[in-house]
Assembly symmetry: C2
Homo-oligomer: 258 residues x 2
DNA sequence: AACCATCTAATGGTCAGACCATACTAGCAT
DNA sequence: ATGCTAGTATGGTCTGACCATTAGATGGTT
């Protein structure tokens, strides 16, 4: 309300006069608190009203900033007046990664072949790491997934289990970033892949191949043979995408990462 | 198989009464248009006022939805009444990835060692791909970066050029996802790395090592020797992070990927 | 004392309407 | 033509109000 005398009178002619949006400034301040270590996971932020008063901006601006931070899974926001409500700094970016990559594959910001190439690199890393130190609890968990897979399942369920298998492997590598990326990449190509398999009569045959390949990978990992695991993984993924897109009109994959 | 108590339990008739927030619904609708292919990069969306009327929600709700889409770099939003203003579907997710990973490293959602492990995988992929088909224009562009690096530079500038070198390599691999991830991962560990090097007297020596390693990688790639390039890259990155964090109080890296 | 329904307070969620800032376009004036 | 000025459509910001959800505090009943 009290428009200062020097509010907008500084009409500097140098530079593009970066006019920063208010909500961006709010985002920046909060991010900065995080980078400086003054805000840590689990910490509570002041409520929207209090924040808007502290930062001297309106509540809508604060809210828009919160929406951004929420989209990046930096904070989460819940109503109520308990210890669990209000704005809390978050720690689980997996959903944000999945959202981001999924949409941008749909927008063709990233092509299927690019995703496959990156996935291959990470999958190899995941298999090797896991082969080098797998635990018995991991073994049984993965075996349970493999045992559920059989050629009679409908494609969607089958592909779900396939995804679970690979994400589980990544988690065994004890690398949250690797696992989250794997999950996000797999989800990103989920739609185009389901469509590719939908009109294909050879599915029953392929599903048997996939099961066999999974078992091969699993065996190699259990045996601690990282090199063989890598080879099996490469064969598996290459074959998978080749079959899925061999006659695709898009033909995006044949030019694999060049 | 009915014997699945740990299943999705989607068969229940009583749902958790999803009270979905209005802005989430707006986000979902727009995302859906993208997934269904009815919204493509470069397309214009109706303005905020018109959108709020179409969807029968208030303008603030529309705005909060837009903030989310903007944070994920799905749309961009500019004032004015020209062909370039309004809401436009975007195509460059690199900033969003960088923001996301950077903050979550700061939040310790992902550890430095995890980032390094993933970066190593991608860097190897990048070097191999590039070695297999590098163009002369790429060669000169990278050489220009290398020629700027010398031990006399201040650390920040030096590390900037180092990052440029690696991102440039990834871009030569003709994989936008790879390049964006590389850039994001590098940026994510920028702060902790700069701090690690800041108080270290051995920097001049290290910078010379780094320059030598870069040249080795570059030579291997130009020679089209993918295997050697991979070996050089592994040595380079391992050494880099070991030197950076060898006596760090955090000691986050020594437990590489646990 | 133990129990249970209700109230209260704090939070986020939503809305309407107004006004400002920006960036073009068109048309007037020179 | 050129240059300025109004018009207009866009996003950006604000105020202030009200709704919805949550959990603890209250207080009466058993």
């Amino acid at each position: 309300m009290p428009a200062g005398p020097d509010n907008k009178t500084q009409k500097m002619r140098l530079g593009p006069v970066k006019r920063t949006k208010t909500y961006e400034l709010v985002v920046r301040q909060i991010k900065n608190e995080i980078f400086e270590g003054r805000l840590r996971p689990g910490d509570h932020l002041p409520g929207e009203r209090q924040l808007s008063e502290l930062l001297r901006v309106s509540r809508p601006s604060v809210r828009e900033a919160i929406r951004i931070l929420e989209a990046l899974e930096i904070v989460r926001s819940r109503p109520g007046n308990s210890a669990d409500s209000g704005l809390i700094v978050s720690t689980e970016p997996s959903r944000a990664l999945t959202d981001l990559l999924g949409v941008h594959v749909a927008l063709s910001s990233y092509s299927i072949s690019e995703v496959v190439t990156v996935r291959m690199s990470l999958e190899v890393q995941s298999a090797r790491s896991t082969a080098e130190h797998i635990h018995t609890t991991d073994v049984s968990r993965i075996r349970a997934i493999l045992e559920q897979m059989n050629p009679e399942l409908d494609r969607e369920t089958f592909l779900d289990l396939d995804a679970q298998f690979h994400v589980e492997l990544a988690q065994c590598a004890n690398n949250a970033l690797l696992a989250d990326l794997m999950s996000a990449l797999r989800e990103a190509v989920r739609r185009p892949m389901a469509e590719a398999f939908d009109n294909d009569a050879k599915w029953p045959e392929w599903s048997r191949i996939l099961i066999q390949e999974h078992n091969n990978i699993f065996d190699a990992i259990c045996a601690g043979d990282a090199d063989k695991a890598e080879a099996m993984v490469r064969e598996h993924i290459d074959g998978f995408y080749e079959r899925a897109f061999e006659d695709s009109t898009e033909a995006a994959v044949s030019t694999l990462s060049t």
